[in-house]
Amino acid sequence: MIAQNVVFWILAVAMVLAAIGVVRSNNLVHAALYLVVVLAGSAAQFILLAAEFVAWVQVLIYIGAVIILFLFGIMLTRAPMREDLALDNDQRLAAAVVSLFLLGVLSTLLIQAFGDSKIDITGPQGSELVNNGRAGTLAESIFSTYVLPFELVSILLLASLIGAVVLARRD
């Protein structure tokens, strides 16, 4: 348990720092790379929580696709690949206040509600958990209960593709 906690905290600190990097970096590409750290950290956390399949999907889709998309976006908008002090707007302070306020409210309530709830990933329950995270289990769930949204997502992705192409196309 301790080991997992140590891993968690290391990952957590790294993720938070990287996240701050995403929103504070003065370099677009750096920001994107920080985002990779956050997303990869998340994937690691997922594994920590025995959500193996999701973790892989996270890595594949997020790091493999979304970040690439971002990098393309950065390139296509001809953003300078260097320090750019004009990346922030004039409402940083207000933004900070609002987000801290939100954080305060949320974390208070979260701790109040789940402060002493333990996640047990050892023993028989742990194996159930691991089983839950397997692709097969998830597939069973998706193709029984969530088949309609699944089909819908496919059409949505198609439509997004078409839409993105229409918008991004030079004409």
């Binding site: 409402q91 207000a94 609002v98 306020f101 939100l102 409210v105 949320l106 309530l109």
Partner: protein, 690 residues
């Protein structure tokens, strides 16, 4: 015929419609329709009158009281076996509200037949008179239409068996009065007078209206006059409510019959054509108030406790009106104004008469006054028509007309004497009846008022006659006698002025009026029948004669002396004569400042000033004031408060709309900021408040 009395007002209604729609196409422009109609109504009225008299006679003889009747003295009313001579009432249902049925119809009794006779007769005479007087008028046809409508309305009022019908007639005669006063509406002054007349009487009508309402409920929800009178005399529901009712009705009387303090419209009403003044503003419409008093006598009897003597509002109003009317008549130069104030004063007699229990006297005075006052007005009209080129100014345009217009002069003299109360003319008997009742019924003070009034009446009439007919002609026309249509009515009226008084010449034991006109029965109180008082009669006669003498002396001498003075001036000043003249002048001064002057000068002038500036001022100011109040209300309350409140709400909402637009800055991240801010705040407050 009494069952068909409805024809009497109906005929003029038809005539009105006919004249209105076809008058202009008739050879004589509609006047013939009017005259024919009124003549038929008159004939029918006479028939009804005769039938009524027969009915009274029959009823009495049936009860074997013929002999007693011959002796008279009101035994019928007081008799144990008192016979109620019920009025002949014919009604049809008019409408129904709730459970109440309101009828319309005719009520024929002594009072009604008397009024029918007077109204139709005078109306007929005025119709005839007007064919000449109004000849060539721009609105000749319309004038006849209005006369017909007036007659119809007045007759409707007269025969009304219930207060509602009475109210209808009452208002309609007011309308006709308005139309006819404003007959020459091109002039602002005339229309002002018409408005004033209508509004003033309508102010009084508030009283009448409420009075009708109060008596309606006091008598257990009925408009029926007989029933109201009966219940009033019983004191049904207590005395107070009847007092309230009577007071309200009195206000109506004050407005319509030109009583103090709402009398000011009547002199102004002289702006109308003279025949109208004679018919409406002297003989008939203005006595509607008195008629109402007489008609609803039970209410007043109960409400003002007339039997108790002393002072009551009705008598007081009448008394004051006698004096102020007469005093004001002294200072008028316009002959019609003199007669108007005289009318006010005489109406005061009638109202006072009713107030002191002299029902017979008041109604009798109404009867006689109608003839001689109509006569005087028509006489004045005759003067203006043939003598002064349509002027009524005695000082500027008259004088010495007796030579040029003998018939007018003599009839006018008869009228004046009748008005002044010279024995044995009509006015003497009726006035005496009132005064006698006052003396014997516990209203001595009003007897004195009456006598003073008689004195003043004689005085101003002397002045009036003198200024018009004696001395030298001061006008610029070519005076001549009036044509026949004018003369004949004058003569007829003169005859009535002489003879009408004999109908109830109590001194000779003739009490026809009491016998036939006074109601008998439970709907009528036991009024006092005064004994003829020779002393009082002599006193009043003496007062009249003295007044004529004093007045005559003053004016006659003055005129003569002025002529003399001119003579001496021309002959070059004789000293002896001069001192005599001077003496005469001292005497003049004495008179002027003493007896006559005391009246004519300070008192009358003060009264006139008061009248014009205070009472009339109040009346006018009420009009102006309400207009001003209207403007204030409109400007500051309606436009500023009520309306602005509404508008500013609209404006404010608009402003808020503008303010809110700042939020919508157009920058998406500002939106997001507000969104997250709202989420945070909402989340926190939801958690806290739940």
């Amino acid at each position: 015929m009494m069952n068909f009395a409805w024809l009497i007002p109906a005929i003029p209604v038809v005539s009105f419609a006919l004249i209105l729609f076809f008058g202009k196409k008739m050879p004589r422009q509609g006047s013939e329709i009017g005259i024919a109609a009124i003549a038929s109504s008159f004939v029918l009225s006479c028939i009804v009158t005769v039938q009524w008299i027969q009915r009274v006679d029959e009823t009495v003889s049936e009860h074997g009281l013929g002999i007693v009747r011959a002796i008279g003295k009101g035994l019928l009313a007081n008799s144990e076996e008192g016979v109620a001579i019920t009025p002949v009432i014919n009604t049809v249902e008019w409408f129904r509200i709730g459970t109440l049925e309101v009828a319309v119809g005719t009520q024929i009794d002594g009072l009604a037949v008397m009024m029918l006779f007077v109204v139709t007769l005078i109306s007929l005479l005025v119709h005839i008179y007007s064919t000449s007087y109004m000849h060539g008028d721009v609105r000749y046809t319309y004038f006849y239409a209005a006369l017909s409508l007036f007659t119809a309305s007045m007759l409707t009022l007269v025969v009304a068996p219930n207060t509602l019908q009475l109210l209808v007639g009452w208002e309609l005669v007011g309308l006709c009065s308005f139309m006819l006063i404003g007959h020459w509406w091109e002039e602002k002054a005339n229309t002002n007078a018409a408005l004033k007349a209508f509004l003033t009487t309508r102010t009084g009508d508030i009283g009448l209206m409420i009075g009708v309402i109060v008596t309606f409920f006091a008598a257990g929800q009925t408009f029926d006059i007989v029933q109201i009178n009966v219940l009033a005399l019983e004191g049904h529901g207590g005395h107070t409510i009847w007092m309230v009712g009577a007071s309200c009705l009195l206000v109506g009387i004050i407005g319509k019959s030109g009583q103090f303090p709402l009398h000011t419209w009547l002199p102004d009403a002289m702006a109308g054509p003279t025949p109208v003044s004679a018919l409406i503003h002297a003989a008939t419409m203005v006595v509607a108030g008195v008629y109402l008093g007489a008609r609803m006598y039970g209410v007043f009897w109960q409400g003002f406790s007339i039997a108790d003597g002393g002072v009551n509002p009705m008598a007081l109003v009448g008394g004051i009106t006698i004096l102020i009317g007469a005093a004001l008549a002294f200072v008028q130069d316009d002959i019609k104004k003199v007669l108007a104030y005289s009318t006010i004063s005489q109406l005061g007699y009638m109202v006072m008469g009713l107030g002191i229990g002299a029902w017979v006297g008041a109604v009798f005075h109404l009867f006689t006054h109608a003839f001689f006052k109509a006569l005087l007005f028509l006489g004045a009209g005759s003067i203006a028509y043939s003598g002064t080129h349509h002027s009524f100014d005695m000082k500027k345009d008259m004088g010495g007309l007796r030579k040029h217009m003998p018939v007018t002069f003599w009839t006018f003299i008869i009228g004046s004497f009748a008005l002044a109360g010279i024995f044995p003319l009509a006015g003497f008997w009726s006035k005496d009846e009132i005064l006698a009742t006052a003396g014997q019924g516990g209203y001595e003070i009003f007897m004195v008022v009456g006598l003073v009034g008689a004195f003043l009446t004689a005085g101003y009439m002397t002045r009036c006659v003198w200024l018009s007919f004696f001395g030298e002609y001061r006008g610029h026309a070519h005076p001549h006698e009036s044509p026949k249509p004018i003369i004949v009515p004058l003569i007829v009226l003169a005859v009535f002025s002489v003879l009408a008084g004999l109908a109830n010449a109590s001194a000779f034991g003739i009490e026809k009026f009491k016998e036939y006109i006074e109601p008998h029965g439970e709907a009528f109180p036991e009024v006092l029948t005064p004994q003829f008082d020779v002393g009082l009669a002599a006193l009043s006669f003496a007062i009249v004669v003295i007044a004529i003498g004093v007045g005559g002396f003053f004016w006659v001498d003055r005129r003569e002396l002025r002529a003399l003075k001119g003579l001496t001036d021309r002959s070059g000043t004789a000293k002896a004569g001069h001192s005599f003249l001077m003496n005469k002048y001292y005497l003049d001064h004495l008179y002027e400042r003493g007896i006559v002057g005391g009246i004519k000068g300070p008192i009358a002038r003060a009264a006139y000033w008061l009248n014009q500036n205070v009472i009339d001022g109040v009346v006018n100011a009420a009009g102006r004031g309400s207009a001003a109040l209207g403007r204030l209300t409109y400007r500051f309350v309606d436009q500023d408060v009520v309306d602005k409140a509404v508008n500013s709400i609209a404006q404010e909402t608009g402003n808020v709309g503008g303010l809110l637009r700042y939020v919508q800055s157009g920058r998406v991240q500002r939106y997001a900021l507000m969104l997250f801010g709202a989420v945070g705040v909402l989340a926190l407050s939801l958690v806290i408040f739940s």
